[in-house]
Symmetry: C3
Subunit: 344 residues, 3 copies
């Protein structure tokens, strides 16, 4: 496939910033400083990696004012090189447009309302009364339950499952293996056996949300599970029933969020972290990878709880003491008392 | 959809308990105290939330004897309000019945034995010699391997995979993305390369089990992996080969159980916990979220091992010391000796 | 199914080792010492389990020279009983051969190149220009993206998804629910909203790799994500964009590896461990279950960082002190100074 190339000057006309050096350089793709070639543009988002500018074979570079003189290559100087790179890359690498139509192997239920511009691929199943909005793409093998609503311009990669009644917004990207709206984990113990509690809430997802591969979002028990606008979820995240995740929050892979937890807006949660049920996390909270949040966080800030790793030999010694920490603290208290009496 | 409504008195006739207030109130659905409206019944399972009774607009409430006078609303007084709610909700929100028949896009292998009352949806694949019991529902895109046995009245949501030879009981609920019977993780190192150890055991699952979305249960290496009756598994749990999970045990999301571990009956395991291979866990054991069980647990009780989180600044200081805990303990011992000699 | 049986002597002719006792015993299957019957052979890989030899009803046993006299049963004595067992079991339990052909319900894109000996099962979708090598098996419901290359003799179990452009080698085993090549988690914050960074790299997987159920491997952001030869990945592992995993490394279930981390060759990573982004891990490193690797590991060896579990009551006391560890260390320092001045 021959790629279209753009002059550096024309890129700046479209996306802002200013050109230093030859504005006529032709750029057809983005690449890293390490691997870029003559018709590719690289970016420097962090001055720490400035040394890589010396050896790059990129045709041009995107960088901030502070690094504007760090190279003589043709370059775009802008305020936020990482965001600039994101915008330019999205322009050079657009998602394919929806190809309107329903594949003959797809199975569509009664009363389903599929926009004429939507793309429904092979072996998709769409339940009774479901709605698929304009220009949305439902890729092969997806299963859309009865009465589900999917907005416009959304893309479900192959093999996504959305259970009945869930509501998904516009401009979503949902990756393969995602399950939206399975039953939450709710049981009551009764005479030695578990009784299932029907999960009659929905999952309601806003606009501009991306959901990574094999992530699961359970439907609410009675009320809904809610994912607000512009939330970004990585792979293999588990979101339990009745969780609410505030707008613009980003969550890394393998995080587990227990039932009825409420996460604020603009939070960032590191990989494999966990949040216990019924807790509240304020806006603008950062949680480190592998941290279990065991009580509500009321103030913005950065939170952590990780056992620092070491060689197994050293760990064994330290971990052994960890089991006696309360006793060590007692011994310190006794020492302090003894010293006091010795002093007197 | 118009819902059927039931008089409070008739509910009590069916499920027990006693009515206080107007027994003629019509109830068609369950809801939370917060969101319930005039024809909905809410429940109070914990006296702690009693204050919510004041503002609820529920038509009626389910509560225990201790809270019987906490509201003047029409109410059902019973021993276990949470179990009562579960039973009533299951009555008001029944799972749809199997609609007998095999969808024309399903592919059924030679010698498969599908009960005439079973429902086989679109794009399902059923292997040679597999058996599907009466009233069971195999939803779209499921893949049932050769010689698999599935009991009666079980429901597999879309896109479940069951590998060959596995045996599943009656009244199961298996959510989307579950994989039952994939190969366990078994390799022998030989001259610098891994040799695969064929996994020739099965997965055998009892009755009344529920399995959450994207959970995986590996087949046994030589003997079987076994899940006993009434086990409840949440989403994204990983159960390795030759594990046995005792009846009535409930396991929360993202838990990992390593090979040949044996979990007792009536255990409760918190989210993202782990159990190492070949360990035994007694009956009635509770394990906290995020806890790694590193040796067998022989007595019932509650077990925990979580690094408590804090602000990242405080964590840094404490974690730095953690790496020197053995040294700190040494220094305390020396102090104790020095104090002793000073005293003498 | 009647199994073929082999004389113990003939097994030794084929796989090496020497026979003690009756070499004419007929063996048709492998089993554990506990469950083996007369035509089954068991193995003793660890002298620790020697006592089980007394009660086994196996027809024969595989064991090492050190245990050669621990039983009078017919037996094969060899150097590495576990590897011997693996080889013999693979011989007795071969994977079924590819049955050449494309199922009529499969959908194959323009210009796809499928080897005539490959097996393409029901409801598979193969994208434009994809290549499937000789004797490879693509089981039901798999989705192979445009321009994907899959080598020879590889087996994808039902419902695997491989996104466009990814490259997979020979002799792979990929279990159900695996997603290869979904977008990495890359966003730039711009004026309060997230901008998606197109993920234009690929996933490139070598030969002899096995990937467990529901594991996800993201495509590279700009360059590729790389899995080298003979890597073994268990279930529900998350591998982020631009990770590289060295040959012969084995990773247990639920591990998360963050973006651009590089793992060496012959590493072993325990279940639910994590590795932060951009780190390097040397060759021959062992990482314990539940350990978060927070900085690069430059030397081979064994590393650990786990909070040891205990009864919840004991844990509460110790964990409370953990929040004051820095303060405890201060108090020890003060005690040391006070003792010094008392001594003088």
């Amino acid at each position: 496939m021959k790629r279209t190339a753009y002059r550096l000057e024309d890129i700046v006309t479209r996306f802002g910033g200013s050109v230093l050096g030859n504005g006529g350089v032709l750029i057809s793709q983005i690449a890293t400083l390490d691997s870029a070639s003559a018709h590719q543009i690289a970016f420097l988002a962090n001055s720490k990696y400035r040394a890589q500018l010396d050896s790059t074979r990129a045709g041009a570079v995107i960088l901030g004012a502070a690094d504007a003189d760090a190279t003589t290559l043709p370059r775009i100087v802008c305020e936020n090189p990482y965001a600039y790179f994101a915008k330019l890359s999205a322009f050079l690498n657009p998602l394919p447009h929806a190809v309107a139509g329903i594949h003959p192997t797809a199975v569509v239920g009664d009363g389903a309302n599929i926009a004429p511009t939507a793309q429904i691929d092979a072996h998709v199943v769409i339940g009774d009364g479901a709605q698929i909005g304009a220009h949305s793409v439902i890729m092969a093998g997806c299963n859309i339950g009865a009465s589900v609503v999917i907005g416009e311009n959304s893309r479900l990669y192959p093999r996504v499952v959305v259970y009945h009644n869930c509501v998904l917004g516009n401009n979503l990207i949902v990756h393969s293996g995602v399950v939206i709206g399975a039953d939450g984990f709710g049981f009551a113990m009764d005479e030695g056996c578990w009784l299932k509690i029907p999960q009659i809430g929905r999952v309601v997802i806003g606009n501009d949300v991306e959901i990574g591969a094999n992530t699961t979002i359970d439907r609410g028990a009675l009320d809904d599970t809610v994912i607000e606008d512009d939330v970004k979820l990585d792979n293999q995240i588990q979101i339990a029933h009745n969780v609410r995740i505030g707008a613009h929050t980003a969550i890394a892979g393998c995080v587990g969020i227990a039932g009825s937890a409420t996460i604020g807006r603009y939070c960032r949660i590191g990989g494999s972290a966990g949040i216990l049920g019924h807790l509240q996390v304020a806006d603008y909270v950062e949680i480190s990878s592998f941290t279990l949040v065991g009580k509500s966080i009321k103030e913005r800030g950065s939170y952590c709880g990780i056992f620092p790793f070491s060689s197994t030999k050293v760990w064994r010694k330290n971990a052994a003491q960890l089991r006696h920490l309360d006793e060590l603290a007692d011994r310190i208290r006794q020492l302090e008392q003894q010293i006091e009496s010795l002093k007197n």
